[in-house]
């Protein structure tokens, strides 16, 4: 009962947040397009058509790239790539960060010192540089990008959880659970994790947005997703020469706008979510 | 009695919130006389602070509205119609204010000296050097040891009592005619409280400043006030001289307040408390605002808010004392 009313409250608050609702609608629409357009329009992102570097036409809405692949098809598949990297790498960050943050918060002492110090190292050092070093070792590819971005994102989750654990562990019900002899692991899972739900969900949302930006940046440097696989970042990478910028804006404007709108929508959604989940937490 | 220095009539202030517009205080009238102390008492949230902030126009302009029928007269000049610029000349100069929490009320990143010098520089056009000398003089007056050193320190380096002394010194810098002290002792230890009360009384004797003392501590009021105004949920419910009020409280709320003071002479089983809490602005009861917590509530109390009426030269807002409406107490 209490749970359902909590969610109703959250949903109610979220609905009053107009920009967040707009963000959510755009994201849903985008998901639908990414899933169904390839089927409906019979899009082929890898097929090489005759006539490379073509301008937009009826067969190719956004023309073709320098090898003759359909740019609209690549835009849609590039969107799939972006969202895939965004979500999967954030899941990786989550999977690393949450347990580490919990350990640090729960055990304190040397465990805490080592983990949180390491988080500081990761946070204070440019992740782009680390990512590039890792890519140089592993070789650029979609999976490298996903894994590497995922690995770099852990300190955010760890810190968030660490903070929550510290605030929850002193609460009476945790003390009580300890007093009756409940083991550490069940305490963490049963009491601490649910209490950290809201901040983690918020961190996850913003994590996806930043992972998408990182992937696009990496691909833009030619160090991320490699052709023939499409990603918005590598579409811009292929269009970065001054002559392309000048004469063929359809090659770089659509993927750029898509990136901008996607990240913007996720951020707006996350903002609304934060206000809805925790009205006290501001900026 | 002498001419009042400050006359407040029908002060009414409301706030805009997400849910709508609500009046925080209504129909508040009182006068303050030179050298005298008016105590405004009541639980937190009863509108004591809003009253004083409205007088000085210190409430946020966007959300707070002082009703146009309200009047605040300082020696005959109307303050409610004054522009922001004109108010700046009055604040800290003719009417000064001391706040509750001296830790947060002093700027943490400015030295005591800088903050002490400001009133002199703003209101008396002094140079920094002149202001410095005056500031040191003021600090001496309020009993701060080695003021020259304290001038260079930051608020967090002083003790709570010292900080409150600084606040008092700062407020009295320009010898204001009215001093508003908003819970000046609440954040302090009991022994320090007594020191601060003594200091304020002593300063009042030499300067003749009128003091408006806002507090929920009946003990402090008993010590300092000449006249007492009891507020409840934005209304004045009783106003009388200190002696009369303590000897014979009329309003049930005042009775409750006085009964909740622990007494050493009488042995009591349990400390008296007033059941319930002050209603929020959104859920004011229909009739008398105290009716939900009042032991003497009558049917009429639930339908209409009584007026503040005279009774033997004192004022009380209760149907128990309104002619023809209820029985005499």
């Amino acid at each position: 009962m209490k749970r359902s009313s909590y969610f109703r409250d959250v949903a109610g608050r979220f609905k009053t947040h107009k920009l967040a609702m707009a963000g959510m609608c755009i994201l849903l629409l985008e998901l639908l397009l990414l899933v169904f357009l390839p089927v409906v329009m019979d899009l082929e992102p890898y097929e090489i058509y005759s006539g490379f570097g073509a301008s937009p036409s009826r067969e190719h809405i956004l023309g073709t790239d320098n090898t003759g692949r359909d740019l609209f098809a690549r835009l849609i598949y590039g969107g799939r790539t972006s969202l895939y990297v965004g979500v999967v790498s954030t899941l990786i960050s989550f999977a690393i960060g949450v347990p580490l943050g919990m350990l640090a918060g729960y055990y304190r002492g040397p465990v805490e010192a080592v983990i949180m110090r390491l988080a500081d190292v990761f946070m204070s050092f440019p992740s782009m540089v680390f990512i590039l070093v890792l890519v140089s070792v592993l070789g650029p590819s979609l999976s490298t990008a996903t894994i590497v971005i995922g690995i770099m994102g852990w300190p955010g989750f760890a810190r968030q959880l660490y903070g929550s654990v510290l605030s929850v562990r002193e609460k009476e019900y945790v003390e009580a659970a300890k007093a009756v002899g409940t083991k550490n692991l069940p305490i963490m899972i049963r009491y601490i994790l649910p209490n950290s739900f809201a901040p983690i969900l918020i961190a996850f949302t913003f994590g996806v947005a930043s992972a998408i930006l990182q992937e696009s940046g990496l691909s833009f440097l030619g160090m991320g997703v490699q052709v023939p696989k499409a990603s918005w970042g590598n579409m811009l990478y292929a269009a970065q020469s001054v002559s392309v910028i000048a004469t063929r804006p359809w090659m770089w404007v659509p993927p750029g706008i898509c990136l901008l709108v996607t990240v913007l929508s996720i951020n707006l959604f996350g903002d609304g979510l934060r206000d809805a989940l925790d009205p006290k937490m501001k900026l | 009695m002498a001419e009042p220095i400050l006359e407040v009539t029908n002060l009414k202030t409301g706030f805009y919130s997400k849910q709508g517009f609500y009046n925080a205080i209504e129909d508040v009238s009182f006068s303050v006389y030179p050298g005298k102390t008016l105590g405004i008492v009541g639980e937190s949230g009863c509108g004591k602070s809003v009253t004083c902030m409205s007088m000085l126009k210190l409430l946020p302009e966007k959300s707070a509205v002082v009703d146009s029928a309200s009047s605040v007269k300082m020696r005959g000049q109307e303050l409610t119609t004054k522009s922001r610029k004109e108010m700046c000349k009055i604040r800290g100069n003719e009417i000064a204010m001391i706040f509750q929490d001296s830790m947060t009320s002093l700027n943490p990143v400015m030295t005591i000296g800088r903050q002490m010098e400001e009133p002199f520089m703003v209101h008396q056009g002094m140079s920094r050097r002149q202001a410095r000398e005056k500031a040191i003089e003021m600090l001496k007056k309020v009993g701060i040891p080695s003021p020259e050193i304290k001038m260079r320190q930051f608020p967090h380096q002083l003790s709570g009592g010292q900080r409150q002394r600084v606040m008092i010194a700062m407020a009295l810098s320009c010898s204001p005619e009215v001093l508003i002290a908003d819970e000046p002792t609440t954040a302090l230890d009991v022994t320090i409280q007594a020191q601060i009360v003594r200091l304020m009384k002593q300063l009042q004797e030499t300067s003749g400043t009128a003091i408006i003392l806002i507090t929920h501590d009946m003990g402090i009021v008993a010590e300092m006030a000449d006249e007492i105004m009891v507020m409840y949920a934005g209304n004045v419910v009783e106003k009388a001289s200190k002696e009369e009020l303590f000897r014979n409280p009329l309003h049930p709320y005042t009775k409750g307040l006085l009964a909740s003071i622990p007494s050493l002479s009488k042995e009591v089983e349990k400390l008296h408390t007033i059941e319930g809490v002050v209603p929020g602005l959104q859920d004011m009861p229909e009739g008398c605002r105290f009716c939900d917590r009042c032991k003497s509530a009558m049917p009429v109390c639930r339908t209409k808010n009584p007026d503040l009426c005279d009774r033997d030269g004192r004022k009380v807002r209760c149907f128990l004392y309104e002619e023809g409406k209820g029985a005499d107490a």
């Binding site: 947005a209 160090m223 269009a239 001054v242 990240v263 | 990143v109 400015m110």
Partner: protein
């Protein structure tokens, strides 16, 4: 204050040490031996040649010994020799530091200088059209990939209007003069700072709003100070404290942005060198850049800590 500084310096040293360990481990995981890299292209290499070279370079030692040797060299300013150019890495970096610092420091300072007044105005008139405009700008700034922003800028200012150069630090053949350099800096600096103008404006706005509700601001008003004095003498310095934290947090992202921006504008800084080195798997250079950037970020953080001490007397005298 002294104790505080020493503590911060110690933390910085530990962080630096941590970064070097991480980077060294990563680089040693790379496939292929350095010797093969260096001698790539040399014909008739025997196993023995390779082994001899490896022994010469200390590569037959256990990894932690190698690391200690490397760290010792790094601390002496010896970052090794580039596999790609065969020049000392220190020398290559020396050429690249200037351009990168020029971009990042200018962008950072400009972003702060622009954002602080914008934030104050937005906070002073919250929910005004001006406030909305600034928050729309910052939302877009935060979501805009900086290479896309760069391409848009190039499209309008270099191609359509033809008033600003789109690449390099100087024009070819005209010699190196300050006005030319400044003209070349405009687009990259705008690209790099856009996002931070937005972020800092929002932070300044919210911290100013918070501070304006603080008790000491009420005290200042009750003293009869004019609104301008209240804001600039009392609220401003307090509101800057959280902004300083934010600036400190953005150093690392700023470097990441600089790598991409340099790439778009062919700016001869450490970012373009990094990308080239990765393409050639030039590990000495990659590690050199990493260590240098780590050093910069740490120095930046120390500066931030010092600023804290200056702005907030409670920090340094505790």
């Amino acid at each position: 204050m002294g104790k505080y500084i020493i503590k911060r310096l110690l933390i910085a040293a530990v962080t630096f040490f941590g970064i070097t360990v991480l980077v060294y481990i990563l680089a040693s995981l790379a496939p292929g031996s350095p010797v093969e890299m260096i001698l790539a292209g040399t014909s008739n290499l025997t196993q023995e040649d390779v082994a001899r070279m490896e022994a010469q370079m200390g590569l037959d030692q256990p990894i932690y010994v190698q690391y200690i040797i490397w760290l010792k060299n790094v601390l002496h300013g010896n970052l090794g020799v580039s596999y790609r150019t065969m020049r000392p890495v220190t020398e290559m970096l020396a050429e690249r530091i200037g351009p990168t610092l020029m971009l990042t420091v200018t962008a950072l300072i400009l972003a702060i200088v622009i954002a602080v007044p914008l934030g104050i105005v937005a906070a002073y008139r919250p929910y005004s059209p001006w406030d909305y405009a600034s928050s729309v700008f910052s939302f877009i700034g935060a979501a805009m990939p900086n290479f896309f922003a760069a391409m848009i800028l190039v499209y309008f200012f270099s191609i359509k209007l033809g008033i600003l150069p789109a690449s390099g630090m100087y024009d070819t053949g005209t010699g190196e003069s300050l006005p030319v350099l400044l003209r070349h800096m405009i687009l990259p600096v705008i690209t790099l700072m856009l996002q931070y103008v937005g972020i800092y404006t929002r932070h300044m706005r919210s911290s100013m709003l918070e501070v304006l509700g603080d008790d000491y601001v009420r005290t200042a008003r009750a003293k009869g100070l004019r609104e301008r004095a209240v804001i600039f003498l009392h609220a401003f310095r307090n509101a800057l404290i959280p902004l300083v934290t934010q600036v400190g947090l953005s150093f690392s992202a700023l470097i990441g942005g600089a790598i991409i921006t340099e790439q778009v504008f062919s700016w001869p800084g450490m970012g373009t060198l990094m990308v080239q080195s990765i393409n050639y798997r030039d590990y000495p250079t990659i590690m050199g850049i990493t260590v240098l950037i780590a050093g910069f970020v740490l120095i930046g953080n120390i500066v931030i800590d010092l600023l804290y001490g200056v702005l907030d007397p409670r920090v340094s005298r505790k």
